[in-house]
Amino acid sequence: MSAAEPLLRVEDLRVEFPSEDGIVHAVDGITYQVQKGRTLGIVGESGSGKTVSSLTTLGLTRREGARISGRILFEGQDLVTLPEEQLRAIRGNDIAMIFQDPLSSLHPLYRVGAQLVEAVRAHREVSKAQARARAIELLGLVGIPDPARRVDEYPHEFSGGMRQRAMIAMALMNDPKLLIADEPTTALDVTVQAQILALMERLQRELGMAIVIITHDLGVVAEVADDIAVMYAGRIVETSSTGQLFAAPEHPYTWGLLKSIPRLDGPREEELVPIPGTPPSLINRPSGCHFHPRCPYAQPDHARIDPLLAPVPGAPNHHVACLLEAEVRERLWAELAAGATPEQALAEVGVPGAPA
């Protein structure tokens, strides 16, 4: 990652929710950065804490009795401790967020234009006519045909893809510096998905806006992200630039993700290898390395020691939180990339300390 001052810096963020069954550790000490004008992709399964960390950025978890610690630095201010009124001034203004399901995320009973107008008039003193004009402008910008007519329609009169475009337009009404997109394409079908992603790329180029895109889909981040952070059970397990991640992934979880995606250029007979098991409960998490119960290469003491994010030798902008030695990892990945299954790779490489 570039050495310039990041737009958003998250430092050791922890978010806990008290619940009837115990404390939910949704976010367990994560640290990442977003650079101006660049796209960060946050990848993980559901329950990895990826959405919660973004909602917390905007202070949208405060209402639910969350216990938040750590820092979220944005333009010199710590959003964790910022008073509500000031945080509200940032929401929808400097930092905007769009969500997964645009049909339910837009109010069904107000016209689309009205919702856009509301977004800008909440933060700026503009007349209704000016706001409306801007809404039409942005609807056009995101590629909605005939925006002057569609601005008066209701959400249910838009198609799925257009709705998402409208949500994006709404997020852009105040020229945000950072756009957080939480699973923006998950609810759309594939062709529309591609269009939306292309749109987002274009907007970033034209507006110079930073984007955080949250998804479980590696294909999506491969498309649009400049940098990627992989989350598991509330922690970040690996961060790197996109190219580096796909070329030389370091974390066994990342390997598992990559191996479970079908590849057009992979051998025909190669089987997909899913990661065994299910994501852990965020109330009773595994001790030590959270991934160890599902890791094919785990060692006994991995259940005791917490791995920390550390740079990969030779790649200072690539960090991983794993207790395996770098060299072992390199060899394991070499096997896996050649088509071996995790068992075969393990057998081939041998891990120090592992039973023979």
Binding site: L58, L60, R88, A89, I90, R91, G92, N93, A96, M97, F99, D101, S104, S105, L106, H107, P108, L109, Y110, E118, A119, A122, H123, Y154, H156, M167, M170
Partner: protein, 319 residues
């Protein structure tokens, strides 16, 4: 939309005819007192009963009576004449309508304002002391019989018989045009009694409806847009209010046919009391007239509510 409304109105007329027929059958065929017998005194000779039946038109065959009645009502708007006072039913009803309208519409305002505001506050402060207190009171008000509540209020606050002489007592209703202030003060307690149960139901409904609405995704979006919380709540209320509008319209429709209990306790000369008195004395023409009126209001209320719903929820469209 216009075509839809016209179609509904036409069906409404057909429904009124069916209702008229049902009332006809109910009161003539089912075992209640034959008005001719009532009229004929304690030792009615058959000859006398027959004579009275002829005079009242009860001797003709049922279908003939019904057909005559329908013709009069739908062609001439003539609802017949009371067996007792010979006053035209239409003028009896028209005379009493303002009182019922005053009572119903005033109560409606009260229960909308009261019910909604309590419901909204309760929804936003769920499980607080305020919420529990409000919902508990609501339960009490829904359960309490109207008649009893009216009596209790009179015995507590009526200026003639109450412990604390604040509001005018039973029988003090005057038309709006006669004395606006007296009209208003005499209706305060009746409005409260009539509104109490409905307001409580509305409050509970609004509470659950709004609680649900506030969990919706678009509320999250609204907050993410940086809207002040008041605006966010307003969006929630806007979504939560639709089922309540339906209920409101129907309730008003029903009550426009006469709030019998409240009108009786507070002695308000409305349509409800007229209906009750006429049923007691088997005054068929008046009974039929009041039932038709009540049915008409309910039918209209249904149509209005359905049309309003189309405006309130743009996703609803009538072909």
């Amino acid at each position: 939309m216009i075509r839809y409304i016209i179609r509904r109105l036409l069906w409404g007329v057909l429904l009124l005819i069916i209702v008229a027929g049902l009332v006809f059958v109910l009161f003539r065929v089912l075992p209640t007192t034959n008005p001719a017998v009532l009229r004929a005194g304690r030792d009615p000779q058959p000859k006398l009963i027959k004579e009275i039946e002829v005079v009242l038109g009860l001797n003709k065959s049922l279908p003939t009576q019904f057909w005559d009645y329908l013709k009069e009502v739908f062609l001439h708007f003539n609802l017949g004449y009371s067996y007792y006072s010979q006053e035209s039913v239409r003028s009896l009803i028209v005379e009493r309508l303002p009182a019922t309208l005053s009572l119903t519409l005033g109560a409606a305002v009260l229960w909308v304002l009261g019910g909604l505001s309590v419901g909204i506050i309760s929804a936003l402060r769920r499980h607080s002391l305020l919420d529990r207190g409000a919902m508990g009171s609501a339960l009490v008000l829904i359960s309490v019989p109207e008649f009893w509540l009216g009596l209790v209020l009179l015995f507590l606050f009526a200026s003639d018989i109450g412990k604390f002489k604040i509001f005018p007592g039973a029988g003090s209703y005057v038309p709006l045009t006669t004395d606006p202030w007296k009209w208003f003060t005499s209706l305060i307690m009746p409005w409260f009694v009539l509104a109490a149960g409905s307001a409580a139901i509305f409050a509970r409904l609004m509470r659950s409806s709004l609680s649900e609405a506030m969990k919706e995704d678009y509320i999250r979006t609204a907050r993410a847009k940086g809207l002040p919380e008041k605006a966010v709540v307003r969006q929630g209320v806007r979504a939560a209010i639709n089922p309540i509008v339906t209920l409101f319209g129907l309730e008003v429709g029903v009550l426009l046919g006469g709030a019998i209990l409240v009108e009786t306790v507070f002695n308000i000369p409305g349509v409800g009391r007229l209906a009750y008195q006429s049923i007691q004395s088997s005054d068929f023409p008046v009974v039929q007239g009041t039932v038709l009126l009540a049915s008409m209001f309910i039918i209209l209320a249904n149509i209005v509510v359905d049309v309003a719903y189309a405006y309130l929820d743009p996703r609803v469209r009538y072909s």
